[in-house]
C-alpha cells in the first residue's frame, strides 16, 4: 500500500514539475475573449463577438473610418445619383477569397440577395430600403433604393461579401427552394470570406482559431498577428489566472471593474479604454406605471448619484467605462449637443419633480429594476438606483435576469421592467441605427427599445432625418431629437459608453492610437491592425 501511495505522490510531483516548462511558440499569437457564443455565419451575426469575427473574416463594400463615417474598402469608389436613390459601386481589382478565387460583382450581388432573402442578422438595416441590385459589369454593381436613405453607406459596413461559388457548391437542404439552406449550414462552420483572417477551427462556445490570409488585398503591417485565438465566456477568476500566467492576452469588456483594477496592477498587464459611439443608459419604460409619469422619470434621473457611479467605473486616471453624458446622443455622433450641461445629482430638484408627479408611495406600484446577468456593473447600477430612490421615498423591486429572459420581457409593455441598465452602441458608424433602435415606435418589442417611447414627434423627426441627404440639415434634425429626448427623459443618461479592456503589454490594440480609432467595437478589434511584439 505504501508503495502505491509513494508511486502516486511521485507521479504527481513529476507532473507538477514538468508543468512549469511551457512551450514557446515562434508564431505571433493574439488571444482575445468575448461573450459566450461566437457566430461566424455572416448573415446571422449580430452580437459583439459575432461582429468581431465576421468583420475580420469577411469584407464589406465600405469600412468604418477612423474618427467616424465610412471609407472605401472593396468598393474603390461610388457615385450617388441626383435623387439619392441609385448607388454605383466600382469594385477594387484583385480582391481574393480565401479559396484563391477572385471576387467580382457576381459575388457582391449574391451577397446582397442572400441578405435580402434570408432576412436574418442585420437585415433590418436594409429592410424596405434596398429595392434592386444588379451587376453592371464584373467590376461595377448598382444598388437602387426605394427611398432616400442617408445612413445607407454606413449600413453597408454590415453587409459581408460572401464567396458565391463556394456557397453554391456547399448548399444543403433548406427552406430557400433551389438555393436549399443558402449555405447557412456550411458558413456556420467554415468561412467563405475574403478578410484578413481565415477560420482554421471554430467551436462557437469554446474557441475559434483564425490564421492570417497572406493574399489579403491590403497586405499586413509588420507586427500583425499570424494566428488569432478567440475564446468565449471566460469567468472573472479564470481570466485573471490566465492573464497573470500569460495564457491569455486581451479581455472582453464584460468583466467587473474590480477585475480590471486588479489586473492593471499586475506586471505586464494594463487596462485600456475604447471610447465608443454609444451610451450607457438606464432604460425607462415610459408606458408602464409608475414610470409613465414624466416628472417621476426626471426625479429618478436627478436622484442618481453619478459621482459614485463614476468612481465605480474608473479603473485609473484616463481609463473608465464611460465619460460624462450630456444627453442620449454621445459626443462622437451626429446630433450631440455641446451646449447641454452634464447630467448630475440634485436631490432638492429631484424632490421637487417628485412632488409634481402623481407618484404616491402608498398606492403606486414599486418601480421594478431589472439587471441582466451578463455584467456585474448593471447589478451595481441597479442597486445604487434603488438606494438613491429610497432616499427620495420611491419604492423599488430588484430583479436579475439572464439575457434570454431580458429579451423576452421586452416583448410587451406589461412585461418590460420599469428600469433596465443597458449599454447600447450604434450598429453602424451612424447615429441613425442607435436612435431608431432606442426610440422609434417601429422598434418596440425588442430589447433595445424597452423605453416604449411611442412619441409621434420623435418618430417623424427620425424618419425625416433618414431621408435628409444634406449633412447640416440632418444634424439640425438630430439636435431637435436630442432636445426632445432630454425633455421626455425616456432614459437616465448615465455615460457616453466606453469599453475597458485588460491587455498584456506586448499587444497594442488599434484603438489605443486615436488616429486608428473608429468607436465601433468590431472595427476597433481589427486583428490586422493589432500589434503583437
Amino acid at each position: 500500500m505504501k508503495r502505491l501511495a509513494m508511486l502516486l505522490s511521485l507521479a504527481l510531483a513529476v507532473v507538477v514539475l514538468h508543468a512549469s516548462v511551457t512551450l514557446a511558440a515562434d508564431k505571433r499569437i493574439f488571444r482575445l475573449e468575448e461573450a459566450p457564443v461566437g457566430e461566424i455565419e455572416p448573415g446571422k451575426a449580430t452580437d459583439f463577438a459575432d461582429l468581431i469575427l465576421v468583420s475580420n473574416i469577411y469584407d464589406c463594400l465600405v469600412a468604418p473610418r477612423a474618427g467616424g463615417g465610412v471609407q472605401p474598402h472593396v468598393a474603390e469608389s461610388w457615385t450617388i445619383s441626383e435623387d439619392g436613390l441609385t448607388y454605383m459601386f466600382a469594385l477594387r481589382e484583385g480582391v481574393k477569397f480565401h479559396d484563391g478565387s477572385t471576387m467580382d460583382s457576381g459575388d457582391v450581388v449574391f451577397s446582397v440577395e442572400r441578405m435580402m432573402t434570408m432576412k436574418e442578422g442585420f437585415f433590418f438595416l436594409f429592410d424596405g430600403w434596398i429595392e434592386s441590385w444588379e451587376a453592371v459589369d464584373p467590376q461595377t454593381v448598382r444598388i437602387t433604393l426605394a427611398k432616400r436613405y442617408a445612413p445607407f453607406l454606413a449600413a453597408l459596413t454590415r453587409l459581408p461579401l460572401v464567396n458565391k461559388d463556394l456557397v453554391m457548391a456547399n448548399l444543403a437542404e433548406g427552406e430557400y427552394g433551389e438555393l436549399g439552406d443558402y449555405g447557412e449550414g456550411y458558413l456556420s462552420q467554415a468561412d467563405g470570406g475574403s478578410g484578413a483572417y481565415s477560420v482554421k477551427s471554430h467551436n462557437k462556445q469554446d474557441l475559434t482559431v483564425m490564421t492570417r490570409f497572406d493574399d489579403y488585398f491590403l497586405g499586413f503591417p509588420e507586427h500583425a498577428p499570424d494566428e488569432v485565438r478567440m475564446r468565449y465566456g471566460l469567468e472573472d477568476a479564470t481570466l485573471r489566472a490566465m492573464m497573470s500566467r500569460g495564457e491569455h492576452d486581451v479581455s472582453s469588456m464584460w468583466h467587473s471593474f474590480p477585475v480590471y483594477k486588479a489586473l492593471d496592477q499586475l506586471d505586464g498587464i494594463s487596462a485600456v479604454m475604447e471610447p465608443q459611439a454609444g451610451g450607457y443608459y438606464v432604460k425607462i419604460n415610459t408606458q408602464r406605471p409608475p414610470t409613465d409619469d414624466k416628472h417621476l422619470r426626471r426625479a429618478l434621473a436627478l436622484a442618481l448619484d453619478y459621482d459614485a457611479l463614476a468612481a465605480l467605473i474608473t479603473v485609473k486616471e484616463g481609463v473608465a467605462g464611460g465619460t460624462a453624458a450630456r444627453g442620449p446622443i454621445p459626443a462622437s455622433l451626429m446630433g450631440h449637443d455641446e451646449s447641454l450641461p452634464f447630467r448630475g445629482r440634485d436631490i432638492e430638484a429631484a424632490k421637487a419633480e417628485l412632488a409634481k408627479s402623481n407618484y404616491d408611495p402608498e398606492t403606486s406600484e414599486p418601480v421594478r429594476i431589472t439587471s441582466h446577468l451578463c455584467c456585474d456593473t448593471h447589478a451595481k447600477v441597479a442597486l445604487l438606483m434603488a438606494a438613491n430612490l429610497a432616499e427620495i421615498g420611491v419604492k423599488t423591486e430588484l430583479q436579475e435576469m439572464p439575457w434570454p429572459l431580458v429579451m423576452e420581457s421586452a416583448a410587451t409593455i406589461e412585461t418590460t421592467p420599469n428600469l433596465t441598465p443597458m449599454v447600447q452602441i450604434t450598429s453602424t458608424p451612424d447615429v441613425d441605427p442607435l436612435l431608431y433602435e432606442l426610440y422609434h415606435s417601429s422598434s418596440t418589442g425588442q430589447w433595445h427599445n424597452m423605453e416604449w417611447l411611442l412619441d409621434d414627434e420623435v418618430d417623424s423627426l427620425l424618419a425625416e432625418a433618414r431621408g435628409e441627404m444634406d449633412e447640416a440639415k440632418r444634424e439640425a434634425l438630430y439636435k431637435q431629437v436630442n432636445a426632445r429626448l432630454v425633455d421626455l427623459q425616456p432614459d437616465v443618461f448615465l455615460f457616453d459608453s466606453a469599453g475597458v479592456f485588460a491587455k498584456r503589454d506586448n499587444i497594442t490594440l488599434p484603438f489605443e492610437n486615436e488616429a486608428k480609432r473608429t468607436g465601433v467595437i468590431w472595427a476597433d478589434f481589427n486583428f490586422r491592425l493589432t500589434e503583437v511584439r
Partner: protein, 341 residues
Amino acid sequence: MGVAGFILRRSAAAIVVLVGLSILIFVVARIIPGDPARMALGSVATPEQVEKLRNRLHLDESLPIQYWEFIKGLARGDLGESLVTRRSVSLDLIDTFPATLELVLAAGLIMVLVGVPLGIIAARYRDTAVDNVARLFALLGVVTPSFVWAVFLMLLLSFVLGLLPVAGRLSEAFDPPPMVSGMYTLDALIAGQWRAFWDAIQHLILPALALALAGMGQAARLTRTNMAEVYGRQYIEMARAFAFREHEIALKYALRPAMIPTLTILGLDFAVMLGNAFLVEAVFVWPGMAKYGVFAILRKDLNAIVGTVLVIGAMFLIVNIIVDMLTAYINPQIRLGRRVA
C-alpha cells in the same frame, strides 16, 4: 441466469427509465412559460423571424405532438436544433461529450486510486493519528462544495504557484490529436504524440482533482467503515492468529468483502461527479457537455437541455449496470439480476 441475460434485463429496464426521463424532462421543459424561439433569435429579431422559428420547432403544436415529433427525431438520432448554437444538438453533444467523459473518468480514477487506499489505511490504523488525519481529509472532501475546490485549486496551483495551466484542454502550441475517442489524452497516446499527451494531462489535472475531491472523501469514508466492519469478523482474527502478514490480511481478506458496499456507493458518487461537472467545467473553461448544459439552462435552450439530460441519464444508468456487474464479479454469492434498477 447468465451474464448475457442479466445485461439484457438491465438494459431493458434502463431503456424504460430513459423513456420516463425523456417524458419528465420534456414536459418540464415545455410547460413553463416563455417563448424559446423569441429568446433564441438573439438581439435583433422581427416578428416574422420568430414565427418562422416557432413553426420550424413545432412550438405551436400541442404537447403530445411535440413529444411525438421529438421521439421520431430521436429514433433518427436527431435531438432537434439547439436554439443557441443553431446546430443539431446531437452534433453539439458529440463534440462536447468526450471532453466530459475524459474529465469524469480521470476524476473517477483519482477518486478510486486515492480514496480507497486512504480508507484502507485509515481502517488499518484505526483510531490512531493516521486514521484521524485521513478521516478529517475525507470529511473535508465531502463537505466542501466542488466549486470551492475548483477555485481554491486554481488559485493555489496556477495563480500562486504557477504550476499548472488554468483553462482549456490543450495549449495553443498543439493541435488536437487525430480524433479517435475524442479524449485528447487517449488520442494523443494512440497517435504517439507524447508531448501533446503530456500537455493534455497537465490541463486535465486541475479540473479532475476538483471534481474528484468530494467523491474521494466519500470513497475513503466508506472504505474505512466497511473495512472496519470486516476487520471485526472472526476470520480476520483467525488469520492474525495464524500470523499472516498485516498487508496480506488487509488486501486479501478484508478488502474484498469490504469492496461490495463501497462499489455500490461509488456508482452513486459517479452521479454526483456528473452533477458537479456542471460547476467545475465552467471554472476551468473545459469545453464539455456539462458546460454546454449549464449554458443551455441559462439560455433556456430547450432541445439542448433535453439532450444533455438524456445523455447524462444514459451515462448514469450504464455506470450502474457496470457497478452491478463488478459487484457480482467480486462476490459470486450475489445472484445476478436480483437487484432492481
